[in-house]
């Protein structure tokens, strides 16, 4: 008996509303504002649009969530997105089929992310510095095979990812949902996820508790690299090509999505649910302003203000709880 009442209480008092209240309110306000200006905003088709635009950032933000949870940062994801597209284009031109190319692309992401992790963990360099450096290195590496020219991709299965639907939903949205489910479960229901929280919350205590923090860090950066590579697959599929400047600045959108979602930059606190909500806010802002034909530079200013506002709301609700 006590158990069932307890679960009920836990559900009622479950800090869901408190935890995501600020960000959900921000999301609703944004939707109301945009739909009052443009009736097309609320159309189902436009929602699909937003989701598709959000996809690339959301998937990269999943990986970024682990990294920030650990108290680290990964600035190289935008560059990894571009490298992934280029690796795929090269693999196809060498005659590989769809499945091998996907594996090669994911492996490239794991290697680039793993390099970030190894450099940071084993050389004890701050991840900020390591990934500032590899951001440049990877971005430069994109141009190596083609001397800076874009490379087109013609594999039909690959292109279908960004253009076809399944059961009425674009495939790209299925991928975003499936990856959300996987990452959410990994983070909230596995030993690995719990260790990420512990090591991010107090590194020393985690080490004394027998958690191999260095190894954990390398794995987490590898996950971030793999997620960025998947983003790269989605983006190159939609663009039908690998562009050398693809994903430029996406690392900042991914970080913004994670932080908007309530993950603490100090580490130890955060969720995947928050991250997908954060990514949605960024997508809604981008889409709404494009629809209103707001010039790009105004979009930047507005987006910055919304991020400040949402994070302020979040911090305020948390300090009121404490």
């Amino acid at each position: 008996m006590s158990n069932s009442t307890e679960t009920k209480q836990a559900l009622l008092a479950s800090p869901l509303i408190r935890q995501y209240g600020g960000i959900v309110i921000s999301l609703i306000i944004l939707c109301l504002v945009f739909s009052s200006i443009s009736p097309r905003f609320l159309a189902f088709n436009n929602f699909m649009n937003i989701m598709q635009q959000v996809a690339v950032i959301a998937v990269a933000a999943y990986g970024m969530t682990y990294v920030i949870l650990l108290g680290d940062i990964d600035l190289s994801v935008g560059s990894i997105i571009a490298v992934a597209g280029m690796v795929a284009a090269q693999a196809f031109s060498m005659g590989f089929g769809f499945a091998p190319t996907v594996l090669i692309t994911l492996a490239a992401g794991a290697i680039m992310g793993g390099l970030n992790g190894v450099l940071s963990a084993k050389l004890m360099l701050p991840s900020f510095i390591v990934t500032v450096a590899t951001m440049g290195i990877y971005r430069g590496a994109v141009s190596l095979p083609t001397n800076g020219a874009p490379a087109s991709i013609e594999n039909e299965t690959w292109l279908a990812i960004g253009s076809e639907s399944w059961l009425g939903l674009p495939i790209i949205i299925w991928i975003v949902i499936a990856l959300f489910a996987i990452n959410h479960i990994v983070l909230s229901r596995t030993i690995f996820g719990r260790r990420a929280y512990l090591a991010g919350g107090n590194r020393e205590a985690a080490i004394y508790s027998g958690i191999r923090v260095d190894r954990l860090k390398i794995i987490i950066f590898m996950i971030s690299g793999v997620m960025a590579a998947i983003s790269g697959i989605l983006l190159s599929s939609r663009l039908s090509s690998a562009q050398t400047n693809a994903g430029m600045g996406y690392e900042l959108d991914a970080i913004a999505a994670v932080v908007l979602g309530g993950t603490s930059l100090a580490g130890g606190v955060g969720t995947m649910v928050g991250t997908i909500l954060g990514a949605l806010i960024i997508g809604v802002i981008n889409n709404g302003m494009n629809m209103l034909a707001v010039p790009y530079f105004y979009q930047l200013i507005f987006k910055g203000i919304v991020i400040l506002f949402a994070v302020w709301l979040d911090v305020r609700s948390k300090s009121m709880r404490a």
Binding site: R189, T190, R194, N202, S209, G210
Partner: protein
């Protein structure tokens, strides 16, 4: 000074403090006279910290009055309190590790001109303060490079950097070795001679009886009694503090100590690590409590870390007779070793995480199901069992660990290690900064574990505690084992002579 020596310099009358529905202080009375050490004694949670925060202006009292030198006293912040002549030395270190000793001591009143700090004056003034206090510290050293004990001494220097009528010392000796505590007691004598009133907070009964003039006991947010030291005893004070008689602070052994014929579960032979310790040999039998005693710097902490997989010491560690290589804490844990670390906030807990998460921190893998999935129901049940078993006082297992009192936090650290069912339990200062009630319970837990066959290696800088609990004592001096003795009937003086290196 206008005030005569008998009139109180600080008088607190019927002060109460409530936070919404929560009462932190019910009725507090305290009268502090100049040139005297007035000890404030109470269990954690009795209201000492609230009172201190009121005195330094972090909280405003809900009712009651405070008079300083006969005038109403109501500071709005610590800086104002300091300007009015009331200084506090915090128990929790409030130093910036990235700055030098001098920069920390003179923080907020650096010698400056138009905001530019005069580096030379800064160092000279700080050096003067440090020298006056007799502290063995170079003021140009970065605080981060100092030992915890040295930092505490710097903290004291910071609190005393301006002349004050009332100085509050909040558990100043909790991280000091005996010799460093002596430095502090000399400082206190000097302050008394100058007519400064000292409010002293400590859990160490021996030192309270040594340095106090007056003692006020508080319990549950209320004043209980004030007495002069000569009119009371340790037993009397403890009874007042916990509201009941406490016959023997060290509970008796539950079963016979293991005979010397029992083979040791942990045997260390000639363990050495350059610069840290040399030729350390010791052993612990199942069910035995072995105390490791040494002054700060004797190498005892490094020995324990080596037994927990840190560093690469030369020599042999045998578990049940089999030599092992402990490469990491994970390795040590797999071999059945548990390590209750000294600093629960730094090395023990994730303060913002729940009690449950903290308790299950180490045993996570053992509690998990297949494919690395956690099992929430099993985790919750395990955490609840530990909360009951160790009598951890918490609203629920979902409460953040950081909001619990020191004693209960310490019990969580112990609980997270008991979850692994260790064969060997290493305890580093298990009762540091813990109140008397919680101390007694931790002693009881140690006894129960030993009775269940756990081999226990305990480090403490509180000699009575080591003597009261241990079966045998390994005494370290200058990075070597000076002597291993049977604890039965051992006098503190004998132990100290070995620890201080007088006996060879």
């Amino acid at each position: 000074m206008a005030v005569s020596s008998n009139a109180p310099v600080l008088e607190i009358k019927d002060v109460a403090k409530t936070f919404g529905p929560v009462t932190a202080l019910k009725r507090m009375n305290l009268s502090v006279r100049p040139g005297r050490v007035h000890t404030l004694l109470g269990e954690n949670g009795a209201g000492k910290s609230t009172l201190m925060k009121i005195l330094v202006g972090l909280f405003q009292p809900t009712s009651g009055s405070i008079m300083l030198r006969g005038e109403p006293y109501a500071p709005k912040n610590p800086i104002e309190a300091k300007a009015l002549g009331l200084s506090i030395v915090f128990q929790e270190l409030s130093l910036c590790r990235n700055l030098s000793v001098a920069e920390n001591i003179l923080a907020t009143h650096e010698p400056n001109r138009f905001g530019f700090i005069n580096e030379r004056d800064l160092n000279a003034q700080a050096a003067q303060i440090v020298q006056d206090l007799g502290l063995p510290v170079n003021v140009r050293t970065k605080v981060g490079d100092l030992s915890i004990a040295q930092r505490q001494l710097v903290e004291i220097a910071k609190g005393l950097s301006r002349p004050a009528d009332v100085v509050i010392l909040d558990e100043p000796t909790s991280s000091l070795s005996d010799s460093e505590a002596e430095i502090l007691f000399t400082i206190i004598e000097r302050l008394k001679a100058k007519g400064t009133a000292i409010i002293y907070i400590s859990h160490r009964m021996e030192e309270i009886m040594r340095i106090s003039d007056d003692i006020t006991v508080i319990r549950d947010g209320s004043f209980v009694a004030t007495t002069e030291k000569q009119n009371t005893s340790i037993e009397g004070l403890i009874a007042l503090m916990v509201g009941r008689e406490m016959k023997d602070i060290y509970p008796p052994r539950l079963v016979e100590r293991p005979s010397s014929a029992v083979p040791p579960v942990l045997a260390v032979e000639n363990l050495s690590e350059t610069g840290k310790f040399e030729n350390v040999s010791l052993d612990v039998r199942p069910g035995e409590v072995v105390g490791l005693f040494g002054l700060i710097g004797s190498g005892r902490s490094d020995v324990m870390k080596a037994l927990f997989g840190f560093g690469q010491p030369a020599g042999t560690i045998r578990l049940n007779g089999v030599p092992v290589h402990l490469r990491s804490p994970a390795d040590a844990i797999r071999h059945g070793i548990a390590f209750v670390t000294e600093n629960r906030k730094e090395e023990g807990l994730v303060l913002q995480h729940s009690v449950e998460r903290n308790i299950n921190m180490v045993a996570l893998g053992q509690l998990a199901g297949q494919f690395g999935f956690t099992r929430p129901a099993r985790e919750r049940a395990a955490a609840k069992t530990e909360v009951l078993r160790l009598a951890i006082k918490t609203a629920s297992i979902d409460t953040p660990a950081g909001s619990l009192s020191g004693g209960n936090q310490q019990k969580i650290v112990i609980a997270k290690w008991l979850q692994t069912r260790p064969k060997i339990l290493i305890l580093d200062e298990p009762t540091r900064g813990v109140d008397v009630g919680a101390k007694f319970e931790i002693y009881r837990i140690i006894r129960e574990l030993a009775a269940a066959g756990t081999a226990i290696l305990m480090v403490s800088s509180e000699l009575p505690e080591v003597l009261g609990l241990s079966d045998r004592l390994v005494i370290m001096h200058d990075k070597r084992v000076a002597k291993t003795l049977d604890a039965q009937g051992l006098s503190p003086e004998t132990v100290m002579t070995y620890a201080a290196g007088i006996h060879q």
